[in-house]
Every structure is written in C-alpha cells, then in structure tokens.
C-alpha cells in the first residue's frame, strides 16, 4: 500500500473527529509554543546581556574605591577618594598589558540651550575612554588630548541629549550651558542602548576630566574611578591582580576590601550563567507540558483503538495488512503531534513577538529551537503512538469484525 494512501486514510480519520483531534493537538500546541517562547525569551535575554556587555567595551577592567562606603571618617567632603589621577598614570606606565587607561569622574548637571532644559549625568574622562568603551561618533569628533590638557570647555553628548535639546538642528559646534558654564558641543556618539543595570547609556554628557574637575565639581571632590582596557582577554586576570597589588602597595592603610577591581569578563560570565540557568529552567518547565501533551495523545489513541475495533476489523477484511493498520495509527499520532508542533511554533512565534513588543526586548526565535520542537513533537507522536498502534494491529480479525 502506498504511503500517501495511508496518509490519506489517517487524515480522513482525524477529520472525522475534528473536535477530539483538535483538543488532543492543543496539548502539543501549548507545549511547543511554551518551549519556543521560553527559549526565545532566554535567547533574547542573552542577546540583551551580550549587547550590554559589549557596549561596555572590550577587555575592560574597572577599578573603584570602596573607601567612601567603608569609613565614615574618610567620607568627609574633600577627603581622599582612595584613587588619584596619579594612579591612572602609574597603572598606564607600569603594566605592559594595559592598552588604554582613563579616569572617570562622575558628575551631573543641567544643560540649557535656548529655552530647552535637560538634566544629564556627566562623565569626565580622558581621550582613552573613547577606545575603552568603543564610542563611535554619529556626528562630529571626540575631544582631543589637547582639550584634556588645557581643560577646554568642550563636550560630547549622547543621542538622547541631542534629540531633547536639538529637536530640529545639528548640535555640532553649538554653545550650550552646562551648570551655567558655556560649553561647545564637538560630537554626538552613536547610540549604545540600555546598560546592564537598565539605564539609558545615551542620556550622557562626556567631557574632559580636567574641565569637569575644574569647572563643575567645585569644592566637592568627586569619587574617581579608573577604566583600563587590557591588550587581550587572556591578560585580564593577571592584570586585575597586578592592579590590586599596586593599589595595596601605594595605599598602605588599605586592605583588599577597599578596592574593587572588576573585569567585564566577570560580569559577562555571571550574566551568562544566570541567563543560561533561567533558559534551562524555563525550557524544562515548558518540556513538562510537552510531555503531558504526548501522554494526552497516547490516551486518545488508546481510546480510539478500542472505539474503532470494528473499523479496524472492516479495514482488515477488505485487505488492510497489519502494517497498514500500524502505520495508520502511528501516522495519525504523528500528524496530530506534528501539526500541533507547527501550530505551536506559530503560536510561540506570535507570543514571542507580542512579548517583544510589550517588553521592548529583541526576542530572537532560533532555528534550532524550531528544529528541536519539530523533531521532539514527531518523536512524541511516534513514541506515544506506537503502543496504541501496535495494539490495533495485533487485533484478531474475526474478533475485531464481530466486536460489538
């Protein structure tokens, strides 16, 4: 008997019981949709985290001081933050594995252009910072070493700032006021999206640290952080230790807890571990529903065999072979699960898209998650269809025919 004929027979049998077929299928549909959506969410989260980590730069090590937090005495205004501009120079000079190093002075300020106001964080940095964090320019240029040396009143702004202050014109070479200090905009950097912590990385003003320290912070000495980029990924762990040792040497009063020397890889690894665990967890919950769907198929097929004993007898009487009956029931089960699987993929894709829209995430449905669910639903059909099919095929013809 040709295979297409068995397909035809199986299809007709399924169509004869549309409601039952659909309800059985629903188990698989929900299962597959859940797996697809969960994997898509996991994948999406991973992509976001990866993007955010990449937006931090390449092979970046951040050096921060904890002294502010640790000791009330040291947190007085004007006291040492623990890290100095000298440290930046020293780190740069001492270690060959350092490619770039820059200080980071964080501040904030109100920006004013004509009648428009905007309130933004301000980062005072060295020119190296551009390369450490991979800033690409949308318009204009980054400020120069000369600007840093002379403490020139120039700034680079993010796209959020640009669109809010300059809705209809180019911000390049415009004079604006930052904390009432007139500054000139020399560049707008390309959008970097959200940070790992969820902040808008484009709502930012980048300025020479010398200008920030001289003009913006006034008497209050801000906390200094140091950003370092290593020559290669492999050098990062050694460089971390070297920097920590240097800091302990130069600050004899300090202990290891006073400084935080973090690498981007640490953050990436942690984030990846978290998102992988999450994906696995979500996918295993979804798999359970797929398994339940499979058992549903077996249940229905078993009921269906008992219900159709006479039909099987009639089929055999007119020439169906045992293997034809076996195939018919397996194909019925596979059709339910495969069609359910395909509908599940569509539903899953729809759900993922909806979530993407609602959560403003870039959710990606990977090819392998589709391949996986199709293979899995086929396997479920064969696995859970086999036993009822075997039962149907091994019926005694006479008994089946006379069954009432």
């Amino acid at each position: 008997m040709p295979l297409y004929a068995i397909f035809q027979i199986a299809l007709k049998s399924l169509l004869r019981n549309k409601t039952r077929t659909f309800l059985t299928m629903l188990g698989i549909i929900i299962g597959v949709a859940a797996v697809i959506t969960m994997l898509a969410i996991g994948q999406g989260a991973k992509t976001i985290v990866d993007d955010q980590i990449n937006s931090m730069g390449t092979n970046v090590i951040t050096v921060m001081s904890n002294m502010f937090n640790r000791s009330a005495v040291r947190s007085e205004s004007g006291s040492s933050s623990g890290l100095t501009l000298e440290d930046v120079e020293n780190i740069k000079d001492r270690f060959n594995d350092v490619l770039y190093a820059s200080v980071l002075v964080s501040s904030f300020g109100r920006l004013k252009y004509k009648s428009l106001n905007w309130y933004s964080p301000v980062m005072g940095v060295d020119t190296d910072f551009q390369f450490i964090r991979n800033y690409e320019m949308e318009e204009g240029e980054f400020f120069t070493d000369n600007d840093v040396r002379s403490g020139n009143k120039v700034i680079v702004i993010g796209t959020t700032v640009a669109t809010n202050l300059f809705p209809d014109e180019s911000p390049i070479d415009k004079m604006i006021r930052l904390r009432n200090v007139p500054v000139r905009i020399v560049g707008v950097y390309k959008s970097k999206g959200q940070s790992v912590a969820g902040g808008d990385q484009d709502d930012m003003v980048i300025a020479p640290y010398s200008m920030v320290l001289g003009r913006l912070t006034g008497r209050w000495r801000p906390n200094l952080n140091i950003f370092v980029s290593a020559v290669s990924k492999e050098k990062i762990p050694k460089l971390q230790t070297d920097i920590m040792n240097y800091l302990l040497e130069t600050n004899r009063a300090a202990t290891e807890e006073d400084f935080v020397v973090n690498s981007q890889t640490d953050i990436a690894e942690t984030s990846n571990r978290v998102s992988n665990t999450m994906t696995l967890l979500l996918a295993s919950i979804a798999s359970i529903s797929l398994l339940v769907g499979g058992i549903g198929i077996m249940n229905i097929m078993l009921v269906s065999v008992t219900e159709r004993i006479k039909e099987i007898g009639i089929r055999m009487a007119v020439g169906a072979k045992k293997k034809d009956v076996l195939m018919q029931f397996i194909i019925e089960a596979v059709m339910i699960s495969l069609l359910g699987g395909l509908l599940g993929i569509l539903l899953g894709a729809g759900l993922s898209k909806t979530l993407e829209h609602m959560m403003k995430w870039s959710i990606s449905i990977s090819t392998w998650s589709i391949v996986l669910s199709v293979t899995f639903s086929c396997a479920i059909g064969i696995f859970f269809g086999w036993y009822p099919a075997k039962k149907a095929a091994s019926l005694n013809l006479i008994d089946a025919l006379r069954y009432e």
Binding site: M1, P2, A5, Q8, I9, K12, R16, K310, E311, G313, I314, R315, M316, A317, V318, G319, A320, K321, K322, K323, D324, L397, I398, L401
Partner: protein, 248 residues
C-alpha cells in the same frame, strides 16, 4: 479442472472455549466452480459462518487444505492473505459494516486504497462504476446514517465488487432487511452472478436460498445435503409482483 475456483478438502476447524473444544467444522469437502451461485444454509451454530470465514481467508483452518483460484491458502502468510482478501474476495455482511461518518463513496473506495497503485482518477472511475452497478451512484456523498438499510447494503455490495472480486461472500445479507428490500438485494446478486461473479450466500432462510442455483445444507459442522436448485427464483421477476413501496 480449470474451472474450479474453490477446492476444500478434509477441512476442520476447532475452537477452544474454556475447557471444552468446539468442533465448528468436521472434515468438510467442498468444490465450487467459477460462476456458481451457491447458498449455504443451516441453523445457527451449524458451521456455515465458520466456513465462510475460512473461504474468505478471514480465519485459518485447524486442518485440511484449501485451494483458492489455484493458490494453496495454507502456505500464505498474513500479508499475502490480506492481498487475497483485497483482490479476490468481496464481503457483504448482515449489518453492512460500513465505516461510520464516511461517505458511501469513501466506503467503496476503501479496498482500492489498500490495493495497487491506482491514481485518484482511476480510483474515482472504479468507485463510480461500482456504485452505478448497484444503482446507488446518486447517493455517493451520503453518510451511512443517511441511507436506508437496503441502500447501505448496496453500498456494501459496491465495496465488495469495486476491486473486481472473483467471489462475493455474503453472510446473511438480508438478515437486517425487510422482505422487499431483501428481494432487491438478491436481484443485485443475481445480476452480478450473470456478469460472471461467483456468489456464495450464507443464510438460514429457505426463501432466500431459493434464489441460488446450488443449495448446500450444514448441520453440526458437516455438509448434509448438496444439490442443484431446480426451482431457482428470479428476483427481478418477483420484484415486479411485490407491491410497490415508496423509497424514502
């Protein structure tokens, strides 16, 4: 004998029913030629249905030999028996045995689906031809529950002949039908017989058997009588004499 279609020698069939052994058939010898119209009669339990199951290759004998159209059935496996049933034998049962929720057309198509590679068009041709033969073509898209008993039996007959069966095996085909419809069905059998199909009719009603050419009577698993029916009735003639009824 080139004309021999069925040659049964010394055939026995026993069933195990709990402790006791039931002898359904005891050493039966039977030869049926091509083109015969045989009625097998007997009370229930006489072994006539068992014989029909064996002739139809639905069951295997406990002992004895069976040659069907020159093929030794004993040597065949399950798959080959399925092919024999599919290609050489058409069944008609007392309660029709049509697939529910399946149109007349699809019911008749069923044996063809399990058969050789006919394409859609060829299958359609054959099905419509079979339905035409039993004069039910206009109901081809009705479901069994939309058809009267007589119509259902016609569909079943169409299913039996769709694959050019050599033998038509009918097990109490009129058991569920009123007398007029019974005669109608018998007239279909007689017409098929005229067209060269061997018809074997199992019945316990003497009047029904009288439409056959040869009468075989069973009792306790043995043939007790086997004779030519000299008073064969003509169903088409009888139909004219029966009072007309409106088809529903």
């Amino acid at each position: 004998m080139p004309n021999t279609l069925i040659k049964i020698e010394n055939m026995s069939k026993t069933y195990q029913m709990g402790e006791s052994v039931v002898h359904a058939l005891r050493n039966v010898d039977l030869t049926i030629n091509k083109g015969e119209f045989v009625a097998i009669m007997g009370a229930s339990g006489s072994g006539k249905t068992t014989l029909m199951n064996l002739i139809g290759c639905l069951d295997k004998p406990s002992a004895g030999s069976y040659i069907l159209d020159g093929i030794d059935i004993h040597s065949l496996n399950d798959n080959e028996l399925s092919d024999i049933r599919n290609e050489k034998i058409g069944f008609v049962f007392q309660s029709f045995y049509l697939l529910p929720r399946t149109t007349a057309f699809e019911n008749v198509e069923l044996p063809l689906l399990y058969s050789t590679n006919l394409n859609l068009h060829q299958r359609r041709e054959k099905v419509l031809q079979a339905l035409e033969t039993v004069k039910i073509a206009e109901r081809s898209h009705h479901f069994p529950n939309q058809l009267s008993g007589g119509q259902q039996q016609r569909v079943a007959i169409a299913r039996a002949i769709v694959n050019q069966a050599l033998i038509m095996l009918a097990d109490e085909p009129t058991g569920n039908l009123d007398s007029r419809t019974s005669v109608e069905v018998l007239s279909v059998f007689q017409e098929l017989h005229r067209n060269g199909i061997t018809v074997i009719l199992v019945t316990h009603e003497k009047e029904i058997a009288m439409y056959a050419k040869r009468l075989i009577i069973f009792k306790d698993g043995r043939i007790i009588s086997d004779q030519i029916n000299n008073n064969q009735r003509n169903a088409a003639e009888d139909l004219k004499n029966l009072p007309k009824e409106e088809e529903d």
